[in-house]
């Protein structure tokens, strides 16, 4: 199972507390994980990736295993530790705003 940690506002929106566990078929990439996350929680569509372009929203970042994966290709394989479930994919909101 792939583990995903979401920001608090998205957990509230999805009415889900804690870490999400997702089954992802085929290659495990940012795109396939987000596809699976949005399939389980349709209300998250448009909140992580922009609706039309499917680009990552500017104030969100993807981290795993201590690395910032935000600028990696969305179809690049995620680290083995994420694929095995040893480490989560972290969706992080910018610490910013007023």
């Amino acid at each position: 199972m792939i583990r995903v940690v979401m920001p608090a506002h998205l957990r509230t929106l999805a009415s889900f507390q804690g870490e999400v566990q997702l089954e992802v078929h085929g290659a495990v990439t940012v795109r396939t994980v987000l596809d699976a996350l949005e399939a389980r929680f349709p209300m998250l569509r448009g909140t992580i990736r922009e609706q039309v372009t499917q680009e990552r929203r500017p104030f969100l970042r993807f981290f795993a295993c201590g690395e910032d994966l935000s600028h990696d290709a969305v179809d690049a394989p995620l680290p083995d530790a994420v694929v095995s479930g040893a480490e989560p994919l972290l969706i992080i909101g910018a610490i910013a705003g007023g």
């Binding site: 929106l13 569509r45 448009g46 909140t47 992580i48 609706q51 039309v52 929203r57 104030f59 705003g97």
Partner: protein
């Protein structure tokens, strides 16, 4: 009539304020959607338990929330706003072409007759409609594709479609306003549109007869007299007696003709309200005195309503969607400030009291009169 429900959108969530017909004691619930900007929330005239809310955030984008129980519980519905066809460009602040890009929903206007039909005014300016309770949205693209679209330009707050008024006597007629393009009207249910800006004088536009480019802040109408429109423009309070075909200035003796809100008394179509604001750039009440100005003559002659409002050291703003009226026998008038106060008058503006003083900055105020 048994009571009122005031729906307040703020920079950090929504609040629902309820009271009985006396409007003296209030229950305050919220924040709903804590931490999110709630640009607007509004109830369906056809079913007061059906509410819609525009929830957005710089981090997570746009959500639309729907309630079927008067705001006790909410569910997210569709948030996909895609311009029809190739969006093209409008003018940016620097006058250069800029692609149309969806940013947020400023205003939600439920149908007068069908709780599942709701209109959305968005930035960059366009009008959308859902016929299935907000699940799916379709652009009424005849507006944006009006020949003037490439010449529309954003106001300082963004290029927003902020006012949507449906004609209760003519289902095909609707009025909208965009900052800073102007006001438009459809007479065929939103298929085609025409600009209705004749008579508007905007000194910053070189062409005195300009079809578009006017910074309209808000428009209002009384449901019993849909041919008469009132407008608060960037400068000038305006009135049209022919559905927007021609406007005339009715600023009269206002201390400043700048402001954002304008509204009409529920039972007297000639009584209107504005909150004058000092400009440019200050955007707070003149002389630090928060005054609602009321005209009982449809404009030109205005009186300051001050009882219960701060008359010194007040430097808040009242934004364009932050005034509303109820339809109780004694008309209630409400407005919210960027300082977080929501003021109410249960006697048509003569006397005011704050319902609540310390909310986040208020973006919008709507009122439902409950049977």
């Amino acid at each position: 009539m048994s009571g009122v429900r005031v729906l307040v959108g703020t920079r950090k969530g929504a609040f629902v304020l309820t009271s009985d017909g006396k409007r003296e004691k209030w229950d305050i619930s919220g924040p709903l959607f804590a931490g999110w900007e709630i640009y607007h929330l509004k109830g369906s005239p056809a079913d007061p338990n059906r509410l819609y809310a525009s929830q957005c955030s710089g981090w997570f984008g746009q959500m639309i929330q729907r309630s079927n129980d008067g705001g006790k519980t909410w569910e997210p519905v569709g948030n996909k706003f895609i311009y029809e066809g190739v969006p093209g460009t409008h003018q940016f602040y620097d006058g250069k072409p800029h692609p149309w890009e969806f940013k947020r929903v400023w205003h939600l206007e439920p149908s007068l007759t069908d709780p599942d039909t709701v209109h959305a005014g968005i930035e960059d300016a366009a009008l959308f409609r859902s016929k299935d309770g907000g699940q799916n949205w379709e652009e009424l693209s005849g507006l944006r594709k009006h020949g003037s679209g490439p010449r529309w330009q954003p106001g300082a707050g963004g290029m927003c479609l902020h006012s949507i008024i449906q004609d209760p006597k003519n289902p095909g007629r609707m009025f909208i306003a965009i900052s800073a393009a102007g006001a438009f009207r459809t007479d065929d249910g939103g298929v085609t549109w025409q600009p209705i800006n004749k008579g508007l004088k905007s000194l910053y536009i070189p062409d005195p007869e300009a079809e578009v480019g006017h910074c309209v802040h808000h428009i209002a109408m009384h449901k019993a007299r849909p041919g008469v429109l009132f407008m608060q423009k960037h400068w000038d309070v305006m009135r049209s007696d022919n559905g927007g075909d021609l406007w005339q200035e009715v600023s009269g003796n206002l201390p400043t003709d700048f402001g954002f809100v304008i509204d009409v008394h529920a039972h007297d179509p000639e009584t209107i309200y504005v909150v004058p604001i000092k400009s440019d750039s200050e955007h707070y009440p003149p002389d630090g005195k928060l005054r609602v100005y009321r005209s009982k003559t449809g404009g030109n002659e205005w009186e300051a309503m001050t009882r219960g409002l701060p008359q010194n050291d007040c430097y808040v703003n009242v934004l364009r969607d932050a005034m509303a009226v109820d339809s109780m026998d004694s008309c209630g008038v409400y407005f919210g400030t960027t300082g977080g106060q929501v003021y109410a008058s249960a006697d048509a503006g003569d006397n005011w009291k704050p319902i609540v003083r310390d909310l986040p900055a208020v973006l919008s105020v709507e009122v439902q009169t409950l049977a």
